[in-house]
Structures are given as structure tokens and as C-alpha cells.
Amino acid sequence: MIKYLKTNDEKCVGCMSCVSACSLLYEKEDNPAKSRIQVNGQGRGAFHLIACDQECRKCVQECPTQALVVSKTGVVVLDKSLCVGCLACVAVCPIDAMIIFPGDKQPFKCIACGACVKKCPKEAIAIAEKEESPASRVWAEAIAAVRKEEAK
């Protein structure tokens, strides 16, 4: 199973409560550019919420140091001790959910902690679970296919 932050754009009113909660929790400042969830205005009162779906795992596949790993709950997390800040993960993310704040040494992403959920007045976001998909297994299968047989 994969734990993830489920978003519903239709319910979002753009109040930015989630963004504030996130950046305050992780970066100790209220700064939208440092939030793991992003709110994009679409005009005409419409908003698009961006947070990692934890499922495609292209970043896990791309990371040269295996700093991006999948936790027991299926969440993609960054091991900062291994990250060399190359930003390949930022480039391959198809929805721009892997974020670098210019000048920071390492990127960040949503880890489905749910801190923002509690602050949302419109129930536009929720912690949910979903099944693994074929896409989420590609990286693991690629590794299994090339591993050397264990030394005797």
C-alpha cells in the first residue's frame, strides 16, 4: 500500500493555509516557496494543488546515490545524509512536486505527514492509501535484474 496526500482541486479556495502549515513545520518560516505542497492559481478562482503522489517514483529511479527511498508506508523520502544535491530528481518529477529552494543544498518533497490536512478549512486535502501500480515497481525491478548474485 502507498500512503499519500490526496488532493481535490475543486474544493480548494486558495487560502494557502496548507502552504503556511507546511513551511512553518519544516522550515520554521511562512514562505510558500518552501512548502512541500504547492497551490497554483489557475485564474477565475480555480486552484491546482501539487504534492507528490508517492507512486511514480521516477525520482527514486533517477537518484544516483539512492538518497531517495521508499518507506515502509510506501512514501518516498529523502535521506539527507546521502543526497549530493544534483537535482536530477527535480528535473524528472513529472508534476513538479520535488522542489528546490534556490541556493539550498538539497531539494524537498511531500512525505504525506498530514500536517497540512488539519489546517485545510475545505477538506481539499486528505491522507489516503492506494495500491502499488506497475509504474511504482519499475525501479525495484530494474535493480533486481542487474544485481550480482550474492557472494557465496
Binding site: 546515490t65 539512492q66 544535491g85 537535482l87 534556490p102 550480482k148
Partner: protein, 722 residues
């Protein structure tokens, strides 16, 4: 049974103060004499930084200072210098992990330079040094270890029991020198090694390892050209090991780290978006070129006799894509999303000492797939992979080996070689088992294997002397310049590419100028002056990668989607602008387009003067063998008779009608050699050299390569004294 480094006998040790990199430079190099086993630090002067920039520039400067005009490849004072450059080691911009290796080559007797990936170079830089000089000759087999976290240089005696071949040796040393068996610790160790082949052949290479966590084993990248592995083994260095833990985003102390990130991210995105529509480097690596080259009659087939064969598609890129492991970030340094360093995993070997074992084959890259494939008339991917693996682990350059083997196979076809002369090895076209047997025999020191791997220059001479072969024919089909075998593109129909190969300082290697498409296919540089301009600009521009510690591939193996709209798309102007910005972002110094070329021009001319100092660097050494220029044999002419007849009529102004093939071969030959002579005149003039190929003192001063010892060498040559 595996060792730890504590099991090895420590011969010497030196502690050094950990340094700190400022804006891309340590301003310090390391010198290790393996003869006396002394290690010493050397400061980098401001003058050295200004004139030589870094990487290949530093390497050549240190090599010049350490050697004499009389130094040969196996003189103890000859060095192997590994140098990185100011941009090397950044983790943001793709292709930033290269180091440049220079040495006086056993093949050419002049300095060779080779650009290589793997982790050793960046780790050495983070350990506190802009370059490593290895000098002297040891009386016993040694391992040189640099611990970049502890500030320690140690020389160990290499135990007899240690394996000699790279795939085992580098794996063992990685584990022996790692702080623990934690994969992150294993990843912190990088090894440089050769193999048994390099003990006995001048075409020995250096393997630079990287520990691949996903494969749970090492992979290797090669400093392949010019026999530097042979020099390593001559010095009795079994391996170099560098350990550095703690790679991070800005260890270069960039002047503007956020700009380095922005430039890197921009290129990452371009690669992710465009690569599938362009070169497919992420899926196929450089082997993506195979069918393109075959389609254009450029893929070496039967010792560069032809450029095409109907069987070409059997080794096309789509065939390799299925064999290469997919969905892995196969860069040779962190942050390279172009990721062309692919491998074929769990490949089961069919021959040799490791027969039946499943191994990881690094590659094949285009040069190997072409040179050890169609060039030998081998269209069996298993054969190419087998040769690729054993060349690497024995420490043999696949380009020199492929071009040498194709020469031997043509000699077999011509009846110059037979089973009696090859110790029973059948060298018919396409017989890769014969080719691989030669390699195994080399590793075991058997007669024909050792003889065969001396390279085509030696063999052409030897076969003429010993076997009565026609000396001119031998000269014509032995594809080398200055003693270095040509890499794997057919240059016959592109005069500019002939210059790109042979008007080089180190010999015919494609890294200076690759002008075939620009010249032959797109006809963008028709006049001699235009060709000469291209043979000035591209070698200078490409030299710049080697000064910085960069890879050339992310320059033009990926392009912005709108690149074609530029007036000079071949230069990829947006990427050139990226590089200038990147240089400034790291070093804090501005770089105009003119100064970029000047940085290279100084080093390029220094290298030419170095050749002159060693008694070489003359015009006569810059001619190709005729096989690289046109059809040597009558059947070779007849196979493309329509093309050559048309050229005779239109370009030479002679009607081919009624002429015998022999006459037509001679007419074509005479014309093409004349064309090449005119090209040399134009290129030397553009480069500021005399008609004999020596940089003039005025030119050296004009570009700022005005060191008295360099001027003196040029003056002496021009005065006829050297």
C-alpha cells in the same frame, strides 16, 4: 576471502593537512614518487592557473616540468598525471566528473591525454589536490592510497595473491579500503587499475572505478587511449585508491552556487525532455550511432575498407537497447542525467579464464561496438561484448585493439598471415573467437598474442620485414597516426575529418574534431579556409572541456529544441553560453567567448610545442595512411565506383571512361593527397604554425603562451636546431 588494507604491508606514509577548495581550486597538487615512495605537496602558482587553467593544462605543464627532451615512455621520470579542473566535481551540471590523464605515450612517444569518468578524479580533488603526479619506478608492486578524509598518503606493497585483472582487483580494493561494508562507504572508494594485458602491450589503459550501489559492485570507465595503463604497469603500480566520504552539493565553493544549480537544472530538464527524440543517450548511450553511421557509409567495416554492410542492422542501436540494462541512472559521476555509461549485466562469458561466469560489461560504447564489431566483420553482439569485457579487465584499449585486429584480419585475407604465423589462430573476417584468443594469449604472454598487440605501426613494419609484405600496402592499411590507432569513423569522404583525425597533437582520436556531418553530409564548410576555420575552432573548443574537468557529450549529444534556428547550430550556441556562465558561477571570473578559445589555444599550442621538444611535431607526422583518405585497393574502388568515377569527372576534371581501375585508383589517390596537402597549409596557417607544423614565437606570444622555455623550443625548431 577478502582483505582489509591492514593486511597489506605499509611501505611509506605521509600525512597532509586537509585543504579547502576555493572557487574550484585547491591551488595545490600532489607528487608521489613510487621509486623513493616519497609524497610531496606542490603549490599551484597564480601564473600556472592563468596560463593552464586546470585539467589537461595542469597535467601537461607538470609533465613538461618533470621530464626532459630525452624522456621516453619507460624512463623513470616519465609521469602519469591525473588532473581535474575547476568545474570538475560539481554535482549539478551533467558531465562534470571528468579527470584528464596525461603521460608520454608508449605508442606515440609524445604526450597523450585521455578524458575519463569514474569517481577517482572528483574524490582526489575533494581530498585537497588539483592534480596527482606519479613518477619513478618501484622495485616491487605497489598500491598508492590517498585518504581524503584523514589527510593521508600511503604506499602499500601489493600482495602477490591479489588478482591482476581489473574486474576482480578493483572490487577487492574497493572493499579493502572502505571504512566498512556499508554501501555508502563502498561508494566512497575509487580505484584506478590496468590489467595483465597492459603488462605486455603498449595499448594498456587505465580503468577508473565507481561503486554502483544498485548493482552492488564496481563498474569501470576507461582512460583508454595511448597506453597510459602500460606506463602504470611499467612503474609497478598495481593500483591507485582514493577514499573520500562526504560528497555534497557545493564542495567546489562556487562563487555563485545558486547559479550552478540553475544551469544544471536547466540542462537536466532539457535532457529529460529531449533525449528520447534526439540521441537516446539515456537508453542506448553512444551506441545509438551504429545504424546512422552504417546508413551514411561511415561505419568501419573490414579495417575501414568500407563504411557500410547489409548486415549493419544486426548491431543497430535497438539491438543494444535490449541488451543494456534499462531504467538505471547510469552516469559516470553524480548528477549526470545524460547517463550514457550503460552496461550489459549478468553477461555469461563463453571464453577465457572467467568462462561461464556472469559479469557486468561496461558498455559497449560506439567505438567498441564499431571497432570490435563490423570493423572485424563481427555482427554477433556476444562477440563484441566478450571482447569489450576482456579488453577492459586486461586493461587494453578497445579502439587500438579493434583497429589492430582489423588490420590483422585484412592481412589474413591478403595471405600475409596464416595459421603458421598466428600460432594456429584463425583470423578470418567475423571470427571473434579468433580475436578473443589473441587477447587471452596476450594476457598469458604467449608469442602471437604479445606480437599482435604491439599495434599497427609496429606490425606493418614487421610484416614487411619478416614476411615480405608490400611495405607500401602495409603502410596504407595500417590505420594509425604517430603510432596511435585511428578511432572508428570512416574519414575517406570528408577531407575535414581527415584533418580532424590527423592534424592533432596526440594522434587520430575523434575527441578533437568530428566534422564528418558538417563537411560531408551537410556541405557547410566547402572551402579550404572554411575547413581550416572549423579545424581551428572545434579542436580549441573541445580542448576546453579537458581544461575544466568536463565531458563533451552534454554539449552536443543533447541540444535545445530550437538549436537549429541559430546561424551556427553545430556550435550549439546556447550550451556554449551555459558553459561560460558555469565557469563564472564556479570560479567567479568572467569569460568572454574569445577568452574561452584562448584558454584552450594556449594549452593546445603548449602541447604542440611539447611534441616539438620531444623531437616530433612535424608536418610529416600529420599525414594519414591512405586507407583513411581513399580507396587503397582496386576492389575497394570498384565497390564505390559510381561515387569515385563521378568525383573524377566533376572534381578532378578527368574523364574516367576507358581507364583501368588501377589507373583510376592512382588518379584518385594523387588528387586526394594533393587536397590534403592544401588542407594542411590552410590549417597550419590558421593555427599560427609554420608550414612544418611548429607554433611561431609570434603566435605563442600573441595568445599569451609566452613562457621562455616554450618560446625557446619553437625558436630552436624554426632555426633548424631541434
Amino acid at each position: 576471502m577478502s582483505f582489509s588494507k591492514n593486511d597489506y604491508k605499509l611501505l611509506s606514509e605521509r600525512r597532509y593537512e586537509l585543504g579547502s577548495i576555493r572557487k574550484g581550486y585547491n591551488m595545490r597538487t600532489l607528487h608521489v614518487d613510487v621509486g623513493t615512495r616519497q609524497a610531496a605537496e606542490k603549490p599551484v602558482s597564480e601564473l600556472m592557473k592563468r596560463k593552464f587553467v586546470g585539467g589537461k593544462g595542469f597535467g601537461l605543464k607538470l609533465l613538461w616540468d618533470a621530464t626532459k627532451p630525452t624522456t621516453r615512455w619507460d624512463s623513470p621520470e616519465n609521469e602519469i598525471v591525473i588532473a581535474m579542473g575547476p568545474i570538475c566535481g560539481n554535482t549539478n551540471y551533467p558531465g562534470s566528473g571528468k579527470s584528464l590523464v596525461v603521460s608520454i605515450s608508449p605508442m606515440t612517444d609524445v604526450p597523450i591525454d585521455s578524458n575519463v569518468g569514474g569517481y577517482f578524479g572528483p574524490y582526489l580533488k575533494f581530498s585537497g589536490f588539483d592534480a596527482l603526479e606519479l613518477q619513478g619506478r618501484s622495485d616491487r608492486e605497489v598500491i598508492v592510497f590517498i585518504d581524503g578524509n584523514e589527510g593521508l598518503v600511503q604506499v602499500f606493497e601489493s600482495p602477490d595473491s591479489i588478482p591482476a585483472d581489473t574486474h576482480l582487483l578493483a572490487e577487492e580494493l574497493t572493499r579493502a579500503f572502505a571504512a566498512s561494508s556499508d554501501p555508502a562507504e563502498l561508494q566512497a572508494v575509487a580505484v584506478v587499475s590496468a590489467g595483465r594485458g597492459a603488462d605486455r602491450s603498449p595499448m594498456g589503459l587505465l580503468n577508473f572505478s565507481l561503486y554502483d550501489k544498485r548493482r552492488a559492485g564496481i563498474r569501470v570507465k576507461q582512460a583508454g587511449r595511448g597506453g597510459i595503463g602500460t606506463v602504470l604497469r611499467d612503474k609497478k603500480i598495481r593500483a591507485l585508491v582514493c577514499r573520500f566520504k562526504g560528497v555534497g552539493q557545493n564542495l567546489n565553493d562556487a562563487a555563485e552556487p545558486a547559479l550552478v544549480q540553475r544551469l544544471g537544472l536547466k540542462l537536466h530538464r532539457e535532457i529529460v525532455k529531449n533525449d528520447d527524440q534526439q540521441c537516446k543517450m539515456r537508453r542506448q548511450g553512444t551506441a545509438h550511432l551504429m545504424e546512422v553511421m552504417n546508413d551514411y557509409d561511415l561505419l568501419p567495416t573490414k579495417n575501414h575498407k568500407y563504411g557500410q554492410d547489409p548486415r549493419g542492422p544486426e548491431v543497430a542501436s535497438w539491438v543494444w537497447e535490449k541488451l543494456l540494462s534499462q531504467n538505471l541512472p547510469d552516469g559516470c559521476w553524480y548528477g549526470c542525467t545524460l547517463a550514457c555509461a550503460h552496461s550489459v549485466d549478468r553477461f555469461e562469458l563463453e571464453t577465457g579464464p572467467y568462462k561461464g561466469q556472469k559479469v557486468c560489461v561496461d558498455g559497449p560504447e560506439y567505438e567498441t561496438a564499431a571497432g570490435c564489431g563490423p570493423n572485424l566483420y563481427v555482427y554477433d553482439t556476444r562477440g563484441i561484448l566478450e571482447i569489450n569485457f576482456y579488453c577492459d579487465t586486461y586493461g587494453i584499449d578497445t579502439i587500438s585493439f579493434g583497429t589492430t585486429m582489423s588490420f590483422l584480419m585484412e592481412c589474413w585475407e591478403l595471405g600475409i598471415l596464416d595459421a603458421g604465423r598466428t600460432d594456429g589462430i584463425d583470423l578470418s573476417w567475423g571470427n571473434w573467437k579468433g580475436a578473443i584468443q589473441v587477447l587471452h594469449d596476450l594476457a598469458e604472454g604467449k608469442r602471437f598474442g604479445v606480437l599482435a598487440c604491439k599495434g599497427v605501426k609496429f606490425l606493418a613494419d614487421h610484416f614487411a620485414k619478416e614476411y615480405g609484405a608490400d611495405p607500401q600496402l602495409m603502410k596504407d592499411i595500417a590505420l594509425h597516426g604517430k603510432g596511435l590507432e585511428q578511432s572508428e569513423y570512416i574519414s575517406k569522404e570528408s577531407l575535414a575529418q581527415q584533418g580532424g583525425y590527423y592534424l592533432t597533437n596526440k594522434g587520430p582520436q575523434h575527441d578533437e574534431a568530428w566534422l564528418i556531418f558538417m563537411d560531408m553530409v551537410n556541405n557547410r564548410i566547402p572551402s579550404f579556409e572554411q575547413k581550416a576555420e572549423a579545424l581551428h575552432y572545434f579542436p580549441m573548443f573541445r580542448t576546453w572541456f579537458g581544461l575544466q574537468g568536463l565531458c563533451k557529450l552534454p554539449w552536443n549529444d543533447i541540444e535545445p529544441a530550437d538549436n537549429a534556428k541559430h546561424a551556427e547550430p553545430n556550435k550549439v550556441p546556447e550550451h556554449v553560453a551555459n558553459y561560460r556562465e558555469l565557469y563564472t558561477a564556479i570560479t567567479g571570473e568572467s569569460l568572454s567567448p574569445e577568452e574561452l578559445i584562448l584558454q584552450s589555444e594556449r594549452v593546445y599550442n603548449f602541447q604542440r610545442a611539447f611534441n616539438v621538444r620531444q623531437g616530433h611535431g612535424r608536418r610529416a607526422e600529420d599525414y594519414p595512411p591512405y586507407r583513411a583518405m581513399g580507396p587503397v585497393l582496386e576492389d575497394e574502388y570498384e565497390a564505390r565506383a559510381e561515387r569515385y568515377d563521378k568525383q573524377m569527372k566533376e572534381k578532378i576534371g578527368i574523364d574516367p571512361a576507358g581507364k583501368s581501375v588501377r589507373e583510376k585508383v592512382a588518379i584518385t589517390r594523387e588528387f586526394r593527397i594533393r587536397q590534403y596537402d592544401s588542407l594542411i597549409d590552410a590549417v597550419f596557417k590558421r593555427r599560427g604554425w609554420t608550414s612544418d607544423g611548429c607554433p611561431t614565437p609570434e603566435h605563442l606570444r600573441g595568445i599569451g603562451m609566452d613562457l621562455p622555455e616554450v618560446i625557446a623550443v619553437a625558436e630552436a625548431r624554426i632555426a633548424g636546431e631541434a
